[in-house]
C-alpha cells in the first residue's frame, strides 16, 4: 500500500535506534488508524490522520535525536571516565595543541588580519608605507615611506580626491608629563593632525576629540582609556585636567573608548596631542617646515585618508602624486645639478588600502608567527594522529563490546556515531582546556616578545571560530580511524572471541603502524627545525662582533632634547666623558654618535682618493662620529696607523679612521694611511685624511656582512650629532654599575635625558629576540612531537605484542630464544621507523627553504649534520619505545600463551 510505504519512508527522519525499536509498531498503528478513518469518515478523515501524523512525526524527530545524542554523550563520558590515563593524556595533548595554535593565531590575527577598531576600516587608505616607523632625514627615492608636515598640508589643502585626510607621527613618543602639577611621569604620546579622529570616525567615550576647528591654541589633549583608568581612576574629572609637557600645558578634552588604540597596531598611546605643537613637545628643531638650506627633509608622519565617493584608489593616487610632485619641484629647485634634481624628484606616493592600519611590528613578526603557526599545526596533527591511533587500539580491543551492541540491535551508524561522539567530546573538552591554555600562552608569548608591544586582548570572533574549527577538525581526525574500524566489526566473529579481549585484524594493525610511521615523518622536520634554529641562536649569541663584549654598557643621551645648541654640544660630550672616566666602577669610557648595536646609523656618498667608482651604487659608505679612545675602549683592534684621540680637536687637521672592510673595498692593495676620504651630500662636502685602519666590528646587525665604514672625530663633525652614546667598560657587572653611570651623567648635566641604557648582552638579546622565540618554541614543539611519536610507537607495539602473545608463545615453544624474539619485534619496528624517517627527511629537506632566511652561521654541511642528528635522536627514541614491548614479548611464557589456543 502506497500510504504505508510512504509513511515507512518518512520514518527515516527518526534516529535509527528508535526506528529499529518502534518503526514496525508505528507503521502498524498508522495503518490501522488510516483504515478506520477511511471506513468512518472517508477522504477528509484520512487527510486528518495524515496531517496529525506528519505534524507529530516532525515534532518528535528532533526530540528523539536529541535524546540519542544525550545518551551517546553520557556513554562517551562514562567510557572516558573509565580510562582516566588515556583521557588525561588525550586532554593534555589536545589542550596543548589547540592552545598553542589558538594563541599563535590570535597574535597573527591581531598583527596581520584584524581591521582597526574604527569606522568603516576598509575605506581607509594610507599614503605612506604602513610598515615604516620613526624618523628619516635626507632623501628617500622611490615610494615614500613617510611624509614631512609640509607635504602633508599640501596634500590636505590642494587635493580634491579625499573626503578627509589626517597625519600622525610614525612612532610613539615617550613624554615626561606632569599631571595637574605633579612630578613628571613617563607617558606614551603621539602627535596627530586635527582631522585625525574625524578621519578614523571614532568619537570620544567622554568629552570630545580634537577637531578641524581646533587651532594650536589653547593646547588640547585627548587621552586613552587605559591611561584614564590608570592615572585618573576612571573619574570624569579627568576632563579638564592639566598635562604639562615641557613648558606647554595641555587641557584634557576627551577620553577615547576602551577598544580604540589609534591607527598603529602594537602601540597603545596614553595621550594624543596636536601635531602643530611639535616644537613645544619635541624640541628637535622645527619639523613643521621643510628645511630649504641643506635639502634634507625630515620625514616623520604617516598619512591616512578616506576617498571621495566615486574616486578610485588609482585616481586618488594619480591626483595625490600631482600635488606631491609640485611640492618636490618647488622644494628641490635649488638642487646643484640637473642630474641631482632629477634624482630628487624620483619620489612618489603609493596609496594602498589601510584597514589594518600601520604597524612597526608587522613586518618582523609576520614570518616568524606564520612559521610558528605551521609548527603548532604540525604538533596538533601529530597529537591527533597519536590519539586517533590510541583510540583505534581501544576500539579494536572493544570489538567484543561493539559486536554485542550490534547483536542487540544497534545499527552500524549508531556505532560510528558513538565513536565520533567520543572523539568529539574529547576534542571539545580539549578545546575548552586549550582556550585556557591559549590565554596563558598568548600572555607568555607577548611578554617574551616585548613589553612595548600592546595588542588588544579581547577574544575576537575570528579567533574563536578558528579555535572552534580546529576543535571540530581534531574531533573528526581522532574519531575517523575508530569510526572506520567499527564498519568492519563482525558480529559473529566478535562474539566468538574469548579470552583476553584483544582481537582485531592484521589490516588494522597495519593502519596503526602506518599512522605511527606518519607521526615519525611529521616529527622529524620539527626536530630538525629545532636543531637548526637552536644552532642559529647559538651562532648569533656567540658571533664575533669585532669588539670585546664583556662588561660593556651603551648609554645614549639626547643632547638636542636637553636644549643644547650645536656649538655647545662637543664641550658637553667631553665633560660627561671626563666625569664617566672618573666614576667608580668604570674602567674605561668613550663615546660615539651611534654606539654599537643600537640600530642608529648614518651614511652618505664618499669620494675616495685614487678610487674610481664603478657606478652610482659604488660610492656610498656609512660613517660615525667618535670621541677619543673609542676603539681602544671597545677593544676594536688597530690594524694600521693610530686611533682618534685627544689630538683631534676642532682646530687640528681633519682626520678619519677606516675599518678593514672600507680599506679592502676602496684601497685594495694600497696603503690607505695618508689618503683622503671626502663625504658628499648635495652641496655638503667634508674631506678627511685617513690616519688609521681598525678591525671590522658589528654596529647594526648580528647577521650578514660587516659594512664598510669610516669614523671621524666628533670634534670635526660632518653634522653635529644630536645625541651621543657613551660606551662604558665597567669593572664588574655592568647592570650594577648602571646606576653610578646615570648619576654621573645627571651630576654633570641634570637636564640631559638618558634615552637608552643597556649592556651589550641585553642588546644582543634584543637583536636575537625573534630567534630566541623561534628556537625555544620549535624546541618545545620538537620535544612534544618526539614524546608523542614515542607514545604512539609504544602504544601500537604494546598492543601488537599483546595480540601476538600466542604466536610468540608458539615460537618460543618451538625453540626461539628471548634474543630472537626481541630481534624479530625490533626488526619489524625498524622498517616502520625507517620508512617514517625517510618520509620525514624528505619533508624536512622540502621545508628547509621556509626557514632558510632565519638561519645563520651554519656551514654548508650544517643542515645535513643537524638533520642526521635529528634522525639519530628520533631513531634512538623509537628504538627505546619499541624495546620495552619487545622485551615484554620475549618474556612470554610459552605454556601460558598456548593455553589460550
Amino acid at each position: 500500500m502506497i500510504a504505508v510505504r510512504l509513511f515507512r519512508g518518512l520514518l527515516r527522519c527518526l534516529p535509527a535506534r528508535f526506528r529499529h525499536e518502534y518503526g514496525q509498531e508505528m507503521v502498524h498503528a498508522f495503518h490501522a488508524e488510516l483504515r478506520e478513518a477511511r471506513l468512518c469518515g472517508g477522504r477528509s478523515a484520512e487527510a486528518g490522520v495524515w496531517l496529525r501524523s506528519l505534524r507529530d512525526l516532525f515534532a518528535t524527530a528532533p526530540q528523539e535525536h536529541y535524546h540519542v545524542w544525550k545518551q551517546d554523550v553520557r556513554y562517551a563520558l562514562r567510557t572516558l571516565a573509565a580510562q582516566p590515563v588515556f583521557t588525561a593524556v588525550a586532554l593534555f595533548s589536545l589542550a596543548l595543541g589547540i592552545g598553542a595554535n589558538v594563541a599563535i593565531f590570535s597574535l597573527l590575527d591581531a598583527i596581520l588580519l584584524r581591521a582597526l577598531p574604527v569606522l568603516a576600516p576598509h575605506e581607509l587608505v594610507i599614503l605612506t608605507d604602513p610598515d615604516a616607523r620613526g624618523i628619516f632625514t635626507g632623501m628617500q627615492p622611490g615610494n615614500r615611506q613617510r611624509l614631512t608636515y609640509e607635504e602633508f598640508t599640501q596634500l590636505r589643502d590642494q587635493t580634491r580626491v579625499f573626503s578627509s585626510l589626517m597625519a600622525s607621527q610614525a612612532g610613539l613618543e615617550t613624554l615626561r608629563i606632569r599631571v595637574n602639577g605633579a612630578a613628571p611621569e613617563e607617558t606614551n604620546g603621539r602627535l596627530v593632525s586635527a582631522g585625525y579622529f574625524s578621519t578614523l570616525g571614532v568619537p570620544a567615550l567622554i568629552g570630545r576629540t580634537l577637531s578641524n576647528t581646533d587651532g594650536p591654541e589653547p593646547p588640547l589633549a585627548v587621552i586613552g582609556y587605559d591611561y584614564w583608568q590608570r592615572r585618573f581612576g576612571g573619574r570624569p574629572g579627568a576632563i579638564g585636567a592639566q598635562l604639562a609637557v615641557r613648558n606647554t600645558v595641555f587641557t584634557v578634552i576627551g577620553v577615547m573608548p576602551p577598544a580604540f588604540f589609534g591607527e598603529a597596531v602594537g602601540d597603545r598611546p596614553d595621550v594624543w596631542l596636536p601635531l602643530e605643537l611639535q616644537p613645544a613637545v619635541l624640541p628637535v628643531g622645527d619639523l613643521l617646515h621643510d628645511n630649504r638650506k641643506d635639502l634634507q627633509k625630515v620625514m616623520w608622519l604617516h598619512a591616512f585618508g578616506r576617498l571621495q565617493p566615486g574616486v578610485s584608489l588609482e585616481q586618488a593616487q594619480a591626483a595625490a602624486n600631482v600635488v606631491f610632485q609640485q611640492g618636490l619641484s618647488a622644494y628641490y629647485a635649488s638642487a646643484p645639478t640637473e642630474e641631482a634634481r632629477r634624482e630628487f624628484l624620483n619620489q612618489r606616493l603609493k596609496l594602498q588600502p589601510a584597514a589594518g592600519g600601520s604597524s612597526g611590528v608587522r613586518r618582523s613578526f609576520a614570518e616568524p608567527l606564520t612559521l610558528m603557526l605551521a609548527a603548532a599545526g604540525l604538533v596538533l596533527l601529530i597529537a591527533c594522529a597519536n590519539l586517533g591511533n590510541l583510540m583505534l587500539t581501544r576500539t579494536t580491543a572493544r570489538t567484543r563490546e561493539l559486536a554485542v551492541r550490534l547483536a542487540l540491535g544497534a545499527g552500524r551508524a549508531d556505532l560510528i556515531r558513538q565513536m565520533l561522539t567520543e572523539s568529539m567530546v574529547l576534542a571539545l573538552a580539549g578545546g575548552v582546556a586549550g582556550l585556557g591554555a591559549a590565554w596563558g600562552f598568548r600572555t607568555g608569548l607577548l611578554a617574551f616578545v616585548s613589553e612595548s608591544v600592546q595588542l588588544p586582548s579581547s577574544l575576537e570572533p575570528r579567533v574563536a571560530a578558528f579555535g572552534f574549527g580546529l576543535t571540530l577538525a581534531a574531533g573528526l581526525l581522532l574519531g575517523l580511524l575508530p569510526a572506520l574500524r567499527t564498519r568492519r566489526v563482525d558480529t559473529n566473529a566478535g562474539l566468538k572471541e574469548q579470552g583476553r579481549g584483544l582481537t582485531g585484524s592484521a589490516a588494522w594493525m597495519r593502519t596503526g603502524k602506518v599512522v605511527v610511521a606518519g607521526q615519525v615523518a611529521l616529527s622529524l622536520p620539527l626536530l630538525a627545525a629545532a636543531g637548526l634554529l637552536l644552532r642559529t641562536l647559538d651562532n648569533l649569541q656567540r658571533v664575533d662582533t669585532g669588539f670585546v663584549k664583556e662588561n660593556l654598557l651603551m648609554v645614549r643621551a639626547d643632547v638636542e632634547r636637553a636644549g643644547y645648541e650645536e656649538p655647545k654640544r662637543q664641550a658637553l660630550f667631553d665633560r660627561v666623558h671626563a666625569r664617566l672616566r672618573a666614576t667608580p666602577g668604570v674602567r674605561a669610557a668613550a663615546y660615539s654618535a651611534h654606539g654599537m648595536l643600537l640600530g642608529a646609523d648614518s651614511g652618505d656618498e664618499v669620494a675616495v682618493e685614487g678610487y674610481v667608482a664603478k657606478g652610482e651604487d659604488d660610492q656610498g659608505s656609512r660613517y660615525d662620529h667618535v670621541g677619543p679612545g673609542f676603539f681602544s675602549t671597545l677593544g676594536i683592534p688597530l690594524l694600521l696607523g693610530r686611533e682618534i684621540d685627544q689630538r683631534d680637536h676642532a682646530g687640528s687637521p681633519r682626520v678619519c679612521v677606516i675599518n678593514e672592510a672600507f680599506a679592502k673595498r676602496f684601497f685594495a692593495g694600497r696603503n690607505p694611511i695618508g689618503m683622503h676620504v671626502t663625504q658628499l651630500y648635495g652641496p655638503q662636502k667634508n674631506t678627511y685624511q685617513v690616519v688609521g685602519v681598525v678591525g671590522n666590528a658589528r654596529k647594526r646587525s648580528l647577521r650578514g656582512e660587516i659594512e664598510h665604514r669610516y669614523f671621524v672625530p666628533s670634534a670635526q663633525p660632518i653634522d653635529v650629532p644630536g645625541s651621543v652614546t657613551f660606551a662604558v667598560r665597567t669593572a664588574g657587572d655592568p647592570k650594577v654599575a648602571l646606576n653610578e653611570v646615570r648619576r654621573a651623567i645627571a651630576a654633570e648635566e641634570p637636564n640631559l635625558p638618558v634615552t637608552q641604557a643597556r649592556s651589550i648582552e641585553e642588546l644582543i638579546g634584543e637583536r636575537t629576540l625573534l630567534d630566541r622565540l623561534l628556537a625555544r618554541l620549535s624546541l618545545a614543539f620538537g620535544a612534544v612531537a618526539l614524546l608523542l611519536a614515542a607514545i604512539g610507537l609504544y602504544g601500537v607495539l604494546s598492543y601488537g605484542v599483546a595480540r601476538r602473545t600466542s604466536e610468540i608463545g608458539i615460537r618460543k615453544a618451538l625453540g626461539a630464544r628471548e634474543g630472537t624474539v626481541v630481534a624479530m619485534i625490533l626488526g619489524e619496528t625498524g622498517w616502520l621507523v625507517a620508512g617514517g624517517l625517510a618520509g620525514g627527511a624528505a619533508l624536512a629537506i622540502g621545508g628547509l627553504r621556509w626557514i632558510e632566511s632565519r638561519l645563520f652561521g651554519l656551514s654548508a654541511t650544517g643542515p645535513a649534520a643537524i638533520l642526521g642528528a635529528a634522525v639519530a635522536l628520533l631513531g634512538l627514541v623509537a628504538l627505546l619505545a619499541a624495546w620495552l614491548p619487545a622485551r615484554r614479548a620475549s618474556r612470554v611464557d610459552p605454556l601460558i600463551a598456548i593455553r589460550y589456543e
Binding site: 525499536e21 508505528m26 502498524h28 498503528a29 490501522a32
Partner: protein, 120 residues
C-alpha cells in the same frame, strides 16, 4: 533501561500524552494501537495520539519505569503475535494516582475561587 524512581512527585506534572497512556493501561495491558483507540474513545475524540507521539512517550515511560513490556502476550488468541503489549508498573500506577490527585486538587482550587461552577 528502566530506572527505578522512588518518588512519584519528581515526575509531576506528567505530559498529557503520558497521563492518557497510563490511564489507558490502568485496567488492562494493551498494544500501541489499542492505547490510541482507548484514548480517543474515552475523550470522545477530543484527544487523538499519533503514532509518533505515542511511541516517543512509550520510549520515555519505559526508561522511567512507568510502563513495561510483559514477557508473554496477555491475549493468546491475538491474531498478530508481533504486536508489542505494554503494562502499567506498580511505580507507574503510583505516578498516575499522584497525577490524578494533583489534577483533582487543581480542579478543587479552581472551584474554590469560583473560576468554574461547583458542579459542571
Amino acid at each position: 533501561m528502566p530506572t527505578e524512581n522512588p518518588d512519584p512527585q519528581s515526575l509531576l506534572p506528567l505530559p498529557a500524552a503520558a497521563f492518557q497512556i497510563l490511564v489507558a493501561l490502568a485496567d488492562r495491558d494493551r498494544h500501541g494501537y489499542s492505547i490510541m483507540q482507548d484514548v480517543s474513545t474515552r475523550t470522545g475524540g477530543q484527544v487523538r495520539l499519533s503514532a509518533a507521539t505515542l511511541y516517543s512517550s512509550i520510549r520515555r515511560m519505559l526508561e522511567q519505569g512507568l510502563v513495561a513490556e510483559p514477557r508473554h502476550s496477555p491475549d493468546p488468541a491475538s491474531q498478530d503475535e508481533r504486536r508489542r503489549y505494554y503494562t502499567l508498573t506498580a511505580f507507574g500506577r503510583r505516578v498516575a494516582m499522584a497525577e490524578a490527585r494533583r489534577l483533582t486538587e487543581m480542579l478543587a482550587q479552581a472551584r474554590e475561587t469560583g473560576l468554574i461552577p461547583k458542579k459542571l
